[in-house]
């Protein structure tokens, strides 16, 4: 789940940083202005907590063990925005200090585990638990389902990011330069273990902790409603499409830039050698996709053109993907806010 450096191209890393940045920005504004100074130690301690919770190995039927990420749990207790920072901080400590997850891939890891996961988890939990009593069974069940779905979706994002690499970044002879497996391999390879093991652990941990807190420490389950009214209103209603669209616009602007950066190096490297060999550069994935398109790519003997096509395609896929998430999140957020 923690992507190390080397699996993602620098361009993809840049795109993922760009995708996470608007959420970080938004979250830090909240910490600074709306949620008051009290949030600083609160977020720090919950980041520390989620760091430690990853050390808890959970026994699973069959004799294996696994550990949880805890993003959903933190999102349920602190709200999704505070969770964005808390989990990012936990991931930063892991990346910087323990080499778990890359530095360049930090943006991607944060997007998957500190943005997608808390938001998905938070809204699923609220969707299932609704306005039920604090002691209602709907809450632990909602938390478990939320934990399961959120981690699975985060894993899906990870798989897509990894799976896109070989389509986009190949050397002249077709050697994938980064993660070597396409979507058709990456997605099942990632989803299998998550659907069967990791997400189960996440569900067990999230659900049973919420259930335990119901019996022992109910005030902790009411933290998000205890925040000042202004903060609460914003915490739920605010992200509104606007800020996310701004983020997306930045992303769209940045994506081609980030993607072009390695392009020059790639083109230079490939050109001479290819002509000598008399080989055309055919990205394998592109070739396959080419068949789907009505007009086949004309003369793919020219390396530059195909390379550029690769970049453009990657940009398009990246942007479509991020737009989709952004749209989904904003839809959910807006719907949620109209309800309240």
């Amino acid at each position: 789940m923690h992507i190390p450096d080397g699996y993602l191209s620098p361009a993809s890393c840049a795109v993922m940083y760009a995708a996470a940045t608007p959420f970080w920005y938004r979250a830090s504004r909240k910490v600074k202005r709306v949620l008051t100074a009290r949030m600083v130690p609160l977020i720090a301690l919950f980041a520390a907590f989620s760091f430690v919770i990853m050390m808890f190995n959970i026994p699973l039927p069959g004799g294996t063990t696994g550990h949880a990420v805890g993003s959903t749990l933190v999102a349920i207790i602190l709200g999704p925005w505070a969770a964005v920072i808390a989990i990012s901080v936990a991931l930063a400590i892991q990346a910087l200090f323990f080499g778990d997850g890359g530095v360049l891939a930090f943006g991607a890891n944060c997007f998957n585990m500190a943005v997608v996961m808390p938001f998905v988890g938070y809204y699923i939990y609220h969707w299932i638990s609704g306005r039920s009593e604090l002691t209602s069974l709907r809450r632990p069940i909602g938390a478990a389902v939320a934990g399961y779905v959120a981690l699975t979706i985060a894993a899906l994002f990870t798989a897509v990011e990894l799976g896109l690499q070989p389509y986009l970044f190949r050397a002249a002879d077709g050697t994938p330069l980064y993660a070597p497996y396409g979507l058709s391999v990456a997605i099942p390879a990632m989803m299998g273990p998550h659907l069967l093991v990791a997400s189960v652990v996440e569900a067990l941990v999230t659900g049973s902790i919420i259930s335990y807190l119901q019996r022992v420490n109910q005030p902790l389950l009411m933290l998000t409603t205890e925040l000042p009214a202004e903060a609460r209103e914003r915490a739920v209603a605010s992200p509104r499409a606007r800020i996310l669209w701004v983020g997306l616009a930045i992303l769209i602007l940045l994506a081609p830039l980030g993607l072009l950066a390695p392009g020059t190096a790639w083109g230079e490297w490939g050109g001479e050698e290819l002509r000598e060999l008399g080989l055309g550069f055919i990205p394998e994935g592109l070739e396959r996709l080419g068949g789907i398109w009505p007009a086949p790519i004309p003369d793919y003997e020219v390396p530059g053109l195909n390379a550029n096509l690769g970049y453009i395609l990657s940009a398009v896929v990246g942007i479509v993907l991020v737009s989709l998430v952004t749209w989904l999140v904003s839809r959910i957020v807006v719907r949620q806010s109209t309800k309240i």
Binding site: D5, G6, Y7, S9, P10, C13, S28, K32, A37, V40, P41, L42, I43, A44, L45, F46, A47, A48, F51, V52, I53, M55, F56, N57, I58, P59, L60, T64, T65, L73, I85, V89, I93, L96, F97, G99, G102, V103, L104, A171, D173, G174, T175, P176, L177, Y178, A179, P180, Y181, V205, I209, S211, Y212, L213, V216, N217, L220, A265, W266, W269
Partner: protein
């Protein structure tokens, strides 16, 4: 093997390893050595550039060369090389190596075969040049990136590294939170460790999985409650010393001529690696 060990043993082992790593790193960071003397901001910038170079470079030899550079830097920074190499590569084959293994074959990476393992009318299994190269790329990139990250962390005290992050335009409040999270992670780790040890000392024989999970839910919740309680107290402690939500920091870093020299050299090497 790992599955055989109980979850308590594994958890304790993880926690202990984490605590030990931290203490050992801090020791190395206080030694007198090349990278220890480099200005931390310069170190952050140059190591990011080197990381990028590893990621951007498309020549295996260049990446290998960058690896030798990290070994050289580690040696000049008085980091025990055996430890440094083991720490990076012992974990690598287990994960990335396993991930990269199938990519060797034509099933996953079509291309020119170099070793044919199985050939019939309908089925052809071979290791391809492309497969070999992609697997090597992956393992090398990951290994060298981890080496670089590890090297910068081992030669910089955590608190100094935190302050140096400010140069990346990271908001101060993030840095404050990051520092506090790290500090309290240790407190919580100690608490978790004693919970596990107490549990271990009271457990004879095997416990059913369900009971174990309930115990974990209880202790994780206790830890959660403790985190919350501590955060409230720490807030008051910060408040009483004038905290108003703004992080204030004082960095006393001064760039020496040698910092510029080393910075420029490392940056030039990174640039060279990308251009070659």
């Amino acid at each position: 093997m790992r599955a055989r060990r109980g979850f308590i043993e594994r958890s304790i082992a993880d926690i202990t390893a984490t605590l030990e790593k931290a203490i050992f790193s801090e020791e190395l960071a206080r030694k007198e050595g090349l990278l220890q003397n480099l200005d931390p901001r310069m170190k952050v910038i140059t190591f990011l550039a080197l990381l990028l170079a590893v990621s951007l470079s498309q020549g295996l030899l260049i990446i290998v060369a960058l690896y030798f550079l990290t070994l050289l830097l580690a040696w000049r920074s008085r980091i025990p090389l055996g430890f440094f190499i083991k720490r990076v590569w012992l974990f690598m084959p287990f994960f990335t190596g396993m991930v990269a293994l199938p990519a060797l074959f034509n099933i996953f990476t079509p291309g020119e075969p170099i070793v044919t393992l199985w050939q019939t009318e309908r089925f052809h299994l071979a290791i391809t040049i492309q497969g070999l190269r992609t697997a090597t790329f992956l393992v090398l990139r990951v290994g060298v990136s981890v080496s670089l990250a590890l090297l910068s962390v081992l030669t910089t005290p955590w608190a100094t590294l935190l302050k140096a992050l400010h140069i990346l335009r990271l908001p101060q409040v993030f840095i404050l939170i990051l520092g506090m999270a790290y500090r309290y992670a240790f407190l919580l780790l100690h608490t978790a460790n004693s919970m596990f040890l107490a549990r271990q000392s009271r457990t004879v024989g095997q416990m059913p999985g369900g009971e174990n999970r309930r115990w974990i839910a209880a202790s994780a919740s206790t830890l959660l409650a403790k985190s919350y309680h501590l955060s409230q107290e720490v807030y008051l402690a910060m408040l009483s010393r004038g905290f108003r939500g703004e992080a204030q920091m004082l960095d006393t870093f001064r760039l020496k001529p040698s910092d510029w020299l080393w910075g420029a050299t490392l940056l030039a090497l990174a640039l060279l690696a990308v251009l070659m």
